[in-house]
Subunit: 347 residues, 2 copies
DNA sequence: AGTGCTAGCGTAATCGGTTGCGCATTAGGG
DNA sequence: CCCTAATGCGCAACCGATTACGCTAGCACT
């Protein structure tokens, strides 16, 4: 119950006054400048502690133009994949004494533009972003780059920007899943995809078609259903497939939620998984291991992606000015085989 | 590629120079000060656009001591509950033109202390936190309060601090779940709890025992299993219960993961859920709706909690100085009834 | 003694806005 | 026509830390 409204506002000047030196000496002492004697340094540290001094990063940031804050933009933070990537980024950033501002675009273009603006005004030292689904114009990102703010993209990236990007090999993941389904004896494999222009879905689709082709399985347009890939979409898409004369014997969904929707329909119709229809998703969301049967999926190595992204980002940050070319890093995803696709007895 | 290293650094002085006015006028014009004529305001806005001016919040923050940034500390951002709360907070904060710095303590006391320090140095306008599991000393939070930085706690709170807190009624949630189990005909109801000193588990335990007592069901110590409540713990706890002479006919786990572990064991043993043993969890993690059978759980209204927390926080922020008492807000959780406990036919 | 170094610290400008105060100019009122 | 009151904007201090530059004292060396 002491008076909480006390705001001491202790500055380096207060420390200086108390020690009969100047603020510049205090500043140097606090920054461990070699030109300051150890005696003085210790006195400063001691006085700082006594006065309960709290450095003001804002003043420092204004002076040297570095805020030591980096902005991270994700479509949404409450999806496991993104929050795990953020976790990876934070881990690296914190080690380097940087703080992270997390912003969500909610896949809304306007919000994304505003966010970039807010980050630039906040004078972040750089931006790490995963582009919103509906974003097709990248001027706001370019504006940031023109102002000298490093930009690194992950997962949802674009070739329209000259920025380093870290993605997983969606093509590879999809190809391997479909190949696996074929090995399990499936021959009519459906695919849930998204009409969005986001490259990840195009890549997964390409992996799907290539795996079919390489295994001499004809591509059937009827087996490809396009939607927003949420749970409800998965349900509808599955129902649509079940109305075909010749129903599929496997479904590879480009999202776990889509696969989950399909699973619900199949179970309601008492269709056996994987015996009658095998099911695979993409992302390895935590829930996939808890479904019945557990869902085969593609793990995106989210934490690793976060760490790698942060590393690349700081490389750019530290080599600002020197010839620093954009690079594209592709991580190989890992297929998690679970019962929803295991027709043959293992071992 | 054009030269990316150009950093124009346009300031209000540049705008002022171009219009033959002073920086103060530009500043006022940009802030829509009534003492500036519309003609001048429009000219300033136009020039600002032409010069591609980007306001520097750091300078403004230094001058008026408000950074318009609030710090949020959570144990971990990749758990659905916390990331949803953060989402709620962000929604409100962004509307009020505040940005949010998210920090994770990883339930590590040292990290928590450092984080508070970093946030104070970053001169955040306030802090919203959920306390780490291992934190038993709250000096760091008190330090923040003493410096006049508003503090609001949610979910993992403490009475040791004079701060507003937003929690859910764990007692109520647990009581209602157990009551529901009894209504479904269960008479030997087991409980998974945690030995941690976190109050939420104690409250859930209290709700459990009270519901039993109020329904004249004897409390049996053997039916209470204490663990860390993760998936593996749930499995072990369930196995332990199944070795009793008189096995339970229901399990109420204080966490969803614990319940999921139990479900796995029951399914492996071909024990029917809910007919032989009913199962309920706590938190309503997204996966609970995808299990088979879907798991009854207690929804913690995470997004609501985030919004309410933010509202309370901003109330404190805006009434800084005036007599502003700490309040404790208790949200009623919502029981989500699913098939894992529904023995009787509904309708 | 004179010269050159270096260690150790001070001076003052600077980062980019913000704002209390003050000064003109014009409008309005008597 | 004089006086008061707005209106519109400039002046300059200020927020707190950083840093280029410079000054002084002390020591070594010739």
């Amino acid at each position: 119950m002491t008076n909480m409204m006390s705001k001491p506002k202790v500055t380096i000047h207060d420390i200086a006054e108390r020690l009969n030196i100047t603020a510049s000496t205090v500043s140097r002492a606090l920054n461990d400048n070699p030109r300051i004697s150890d005696v003085t340094k210790k006195a400063v540290l001691k006085a700082a502690k006594q006065l309960n001094y709290q450095p003001n990063n804002i003043a420092a940031a204004l002076r040297n133009g570095k805020s030591h804050i980096i902005g991270v933009i994700v479509p949404t933070a409450d999806r496991t994949f993104f929050s795990s990537v953020v976790r990876g980024i934070e881990e690296i950033a914190n080690k380097l004494n940087y703080k992270v501002i997390i912003c969500q675009s909610y896949d809304d273009y306007e919000k994304e533009v505003q966010t970039i603006d807010a980050l630039l005004s906040a004078r972040v030292d750089g931006i790490i972003a995963s582009i919103g689904k509906n974003t097709e114009n990248f001027k706001h990102y370019k504006r940031a780059q023109e102002k000298g703010v490093p930009l690194v993209l992950f997962d949802r990236t674009t070739e329209a920007l000259d920025a380093s990007q870290i993605v997983i090999d969606d093509y590879f993941g999809a190809y391997k899943v479909v190949e696996h389904l074929i090995q399990q004896g499936c021959t009519r494999i459906a695919h849930f995809t998204s009409p969005k222009k986001v490259s990840v879905f195009k890549e997964r689709f390409r992996g799907y078609t290539d795996a079919l082709r390489d295994n001499n399985i004809p591509f059937d347009e009827q087996l490809v259903v396009s939607s927003n890939l949420q749970l409800e979409d998965g349900r509808k898409s599955m129902e649509q497939l079940l109305q075909l004369k010749d129903i599929p014997d496997a479904v590879f969904s480009a999202s776990d939620y889509g696969a989950m929707g399909a699973m619900q329909i199949l179970k309601e119709r008492k269709i056996k998984i994987p015996e009658e229809i095998a099911l695979a998703g993409f992302s390895n969301d935590p829930f996939t291991s808890f479904t019945d049967p557990p869902l085969t999926s593609v793990d995106q190595l989210s934490i690793t992606m976060g760490k790698v992204t942060a590393q690349i980002f700081f490389e750019h940050l530290n080599s600002a000015g020197s010839n620093n070319f954009s690079q594209k890093i592709v991580l190989k995803p890992e297929i998690i085989f679970r019962e929803s696709t295991l027709r043959k007895q293992e071992k």
